[in-house]
Symmetry: C2
Subunit: 271 residues, 2 copies
């Protein structure tokens, strides 16, 4: 999906909601646990319930990996089920030396390898350019690079200064020499909303993937105020607040309600 196509979806749906598919087998409603593939059965209903309110889906790969081979099968089926009008993100936080990043790129971008064909992948920047650029060798695919994350440990290294700027800003500036805003996004945690104004100066045109709204305590209003640009420029992720809105048979209806509530708020901020 191109930058322009993503923006058209945002305009069309009046939403920049990304639904995080952090599907935890231990939290799936009891009535689905006897399904041959409970994770996919759950995801399918979540996708059906939320697709009109969301422009992106972000499976968190750890949740699938932790199920071994059958988890990868659930992931493959989930990805295939997501409507083609939605942007897909492999939240994998990979990154390794060039020949290994090549293989990670193949895993998530080349359907002939592991059956997966994501639009994008989250990548950790620590190992530098040759750990990132192999993902960019796939035409039309995106890298979403960790910049400033939403967790407490973000304070350990990301905000330490290199010269006169914090590491995460240095990462963002350096990465812009590897790809332009039509192939590169940044992860910026919603718990750091006060930083978003400054980040928008560094990366005025880039999409920012913003986790941390909802269960992690970030404010959608604050994020939208500082983060929106004229092409939307935001993908705000919510996971647990949507997936586990109810643990009963009404989980999908309740998920739709949560997603719709976020979409309505977003429509307000977009106008």
């Amino acid at each position: 999906m191109t930058y322009e196509e993503l923006y058209l979806q945002i305009r069309h749906k009046q939403s920049y909601l990304c639904v995080g598919l952090d599907t935890d087998i231990r939290k799936i409603p009891a009535h689905l646990q006897n399904d041959p593939d409970p994770v996919f059965a759950f995801n399918r209903q979540i996708i059906d319930a939320t697709a009109e309110f969301a422009v992106a889906y972000k499976p968190n790969i750890a949740f699938y990996e932790a199920q071994g081979p059958r988890g990868w099968e659930s992931l493959r089926k989930t990805l295939a089920y997501i409507p083609k009008s939605c942007f897909t993100i492999a939240d994998a936080k990979r990154g390794d030396i060039g020949n290994t990043s090549d293989l990670y790129a193949r895993t998530f971008f080349d359907p002939s390898a592991a059956g997966l064909d994501f639009d994008s992948i989250t990548v950790a920047p620590y190992m530098g350019h040759d750990s990132v650029t192999p993902f960019l060798n796939y035409n039309g695919k995106w890298v979403i690079l960790l910049a400033l994350t939403s967790n407490p440990g973000s304070q350990d290294f990301q905000v330490q200064h290199i010269g006169n700027q914090p590491l995460f800003e240095y990462v963002m500036q350096t990465a812009q020499t590897w790809a332009s805003h039509d192939r590169l996004m940044f992860v910026v945690g919603a718990t750091q909303a006060e930083q978003l104004g400054r980040i928008r100066q560094i990366a005025p045109n880039h999409f920012l993937l913003v986790p941390g709204v909802g269960a992690q305590g970030g404010s959608l209003a604050e994020v939208s105020r500082y983060g929106l640009n004229e092409h939307g420029g935001l993908l705000v992720n919510a996971s647990r607040s949507i997936l586990y809105a109810s643990s009963g048979t009404d989980f999908a209806r309740r998920a739709a309600g949560e997603a719709h509530k976020l979409q309505r708020e977003m429509a307000g901020f977009l106008s």
Copy 2:
């Protein structure tokens, strides 16, 4: 495996060789390609041929992931086949917010999840303490944290200065507040051997996992001169030079020859 047990293996085998199982299905000898599980068939023979010369095995997870579910099955069988006297490393370079790192830890350390029971995992430091400590909640398991890597991109961020020291040193010092040398190792590329003297001052007792000898051009003599300590303190990885010493039916014998050659050199440096 404990620090002391690892040292005993090093003394016993007179080796600090780690064999990197970067098993590329495209490079496996033709006569194995019709095996129901060519990757495992190859690995099993490599392990049989090298186990007397190696103290550790390091499957590079990307190579298995890129095969989809059957790759994870090859990985599980490979890990189960490695002799218990050898230290095992999941070279996965994971790291995410706490609840997600929990799941990555479960994947690689809890056999009831994905059937895997590695001794250790490589972890990327960018997201800080809560991305790393979930791996340490598993008794007896190790974190091997990226410090200074062997690839060209290591120059982008790792050597940039925070205050008066490069980022990788700052990472090493910070991480020592999370775990001691009996649970924590560092990745230090062999192509950076001249840095090893300084690194030994910062982390005198820690094991260093050193990739980059062989195909990547690092010198075993240099690494050993600066990196060895009184408990060995090194795991030097070789992958391609051993795995692909021959592409014919003699591949295992030739792999044994390469591993034995490295072991003999190591015995010399240990004495």
